[in-house]
């Protein structure tokens, strides 16, 4: 990794603590430990879609300045929404020097943002800088036989200009899953919206959208579903809790973060897994020799 600063965002320090712990452990194993950006603030959560105001870009630009201050040329995020917001703001501001000038003039308490800080999602780092072959080389407990559904959601892939893979036919998560010796399970709703922030005032609608996603993954035969977005995680787990009572016995779906899957394959301890996942892990072969 070049000189990269890790941007956590709010969820990673609260609900998604298991995501942060597992990512830190996994990156440690891969020899590129995460170094947290100093004095980071909220990214703004959702990218502002209006063309006539720059006010809503400030939160993101402030974090780009933080990176610049500590000499980092890259920001790495785990949260898909932070990735999307930071990267889109960066592109929007840097596209037009007048915008950059206005923002710098407005934030006179900060040093000027000079542009050029890159924003990456951890998955891109794993693919382009670490390499999936290196990941495969670090696997001590191959996840053979485990059927894993890759769930992308929206913000990793769209819009195309900033997405980490082809928006309609992404493969990066499947390749990641394969590198851990697990089997990726393709399903129809892998890049559909879970309902996102509408959980606040339209929970029924969100549960319906999430239900479609979970149903589609389970019908395709998945045991596990991995995601990289803390908000998708919240919605999908909530929906799964509701759905569970109607499922036949022994039919379970574990919903975990992608780095938790890698932590299992690297045999690093990162705290508690969902009960159903812990059961699946028990059933896995224990060392490389057992794999034909």
């Amino acid at each position: 990794m070049n000189n990269a600063a890790y941007f956590p965002g709010c969820s990673l320090k609260a609900e998604a603590g298991d995501y942060e712990r597992s990512a830190a452990a996994v990156m440690e194993v891969l020899g590129q430990p995460l170094e947290e950006l100093e004095r980071w603030t909220c990214c703004g959560t959702v990218y502002s879609l209006t063309d006539d105001d720059l006010m809503h870009q400030l939160a993101s630009v402030r974090n780009l300045i933080r990176a610049q201050e500590c000499g980092a040329d890259e920001i790495v995020t785990l949260c898909s929404m932070c990735f999307n917001t930071l990267k889109r703001s960066k592109v929007f501001i840097e596209q037009d020097s007048a915008r950059l000038e206005t923002v710098n003039a407005f934030m006179d308490e900060e040093q000027d943002y000079e542009g050029g800080v890159e924003v990456f999602h951890l998955l891109e780092i794993l693919r382009d800088q670490v390499g999936f072959e290196s990941i495969e080389g670090k696997v001590t407990r191959p996840l053979s036989g485990l059927r894993v559904a890759p769930y992308y959601g929206c913000t990793l892939l769209r819009p195309r200009e900033i997405g980490i893979d082809e928006p309609d036919t992404p493969t990066i998560l499947q390749d990641f899953i394969r590198a851990l010796w697990a089997t990726p399970v393709e399903f129809a709703f892998q890049a559909e919206c879970c309902g996102t922030y509408q959980i606040v005032d339209s929970p029924e609608m969100v549960l319906e959208k999430s239900h479609r996603i979970l149903n589609s993954a389970m019908r395709a035969g998945a045991d596990v579903l991995v995601t990289s977005c803390p908000l998708c995680m919240h919605n999908l787990r909530l929906c799964y809790e509701e759905l569970r009572s109607s499922l036949p016995e022994k039919r379970e779906l574990s919903i975990i973060y992608l780095t938790q899957l890698a932590a299992i394959a690297f045999e690093v301890e990162t705290g508690e897994l969902p009960t159903s996942m812990a059961k699946l892990v028990e059933g896995l072969p224990t060392s490389m020799e057992l794999v034909p």
Binding site: G9, C10, S11, A14, E15, C42, G44, T45, V46, Y47, S48, L49, T50, D51, D52, H56, C79, M81, C154, L157, R158, P159, R160, P167, D168, E192, C193, G195, T196, Y197, Q198, I199, V200, D201, S202, M205, K209, P230, L231, H234
Partner: protein
């Protein structure tokens, strides 16, 4: 749902939406791809392609649709539009016309503290950004 009465005298409605969004509504040729791929179309009173049609016709009544609050900017429509129209920006422009007149679409006062505690902060902040001015 706040009423659009204040907006009745709205002149240059389409131009306002285009200015806020930076999009050209006449680029749309009504193929319906946006509606076909929209995860939320089944919840909307005016369908995504119909929203654009009404914008083309400069019909300010389209502002009253619930579609603008339901659109979660998942950008399925934007990536698939053959004419490169970003509908999420048009929806945002329609929301902003309300929000900039202090007509919010989210009342957190009706929630108990316990209900709010159950919601992740990422969802709360995103809702504030999308539904309050």
């Amino acid at each position: 749902m706040p009423s659009a009465t204040k907006l009745e005298q709205f002149v240059g409605f389409r131009e306002r939406v285009e200015m806020l969004s930076g999009e050209n509504v006449f680029a749309c040729y009504q193929c319906g791809m946006c509606t076909a791929g929209c995860s939320f179309a089944d919840e909307m009173d005016v369908l995504p392609h119909q929203v654009i049609r009404q914008l083309q016709l400069n019909n300010w009544k389209v502002l009253e649709c619930n579609a603008k609050w339901i659109c979660a900017s998942c950008l399925n429509c934007q990536t698939r539009c053959p004419k490169g129209v970003d509908l999420s920006k048009l929806m945002e422009a329609m929301r902003q016309i309300y929000l900039r007149q202090q007509m919010d679409n989210l009342e957190l006062n009706k929630y108990s503290i316990d209900q709010i505690r159950c919601l992740p902060q990422i969802a709360l902040v995103a809702s504030f950004r999308k539904k309050t001015g």
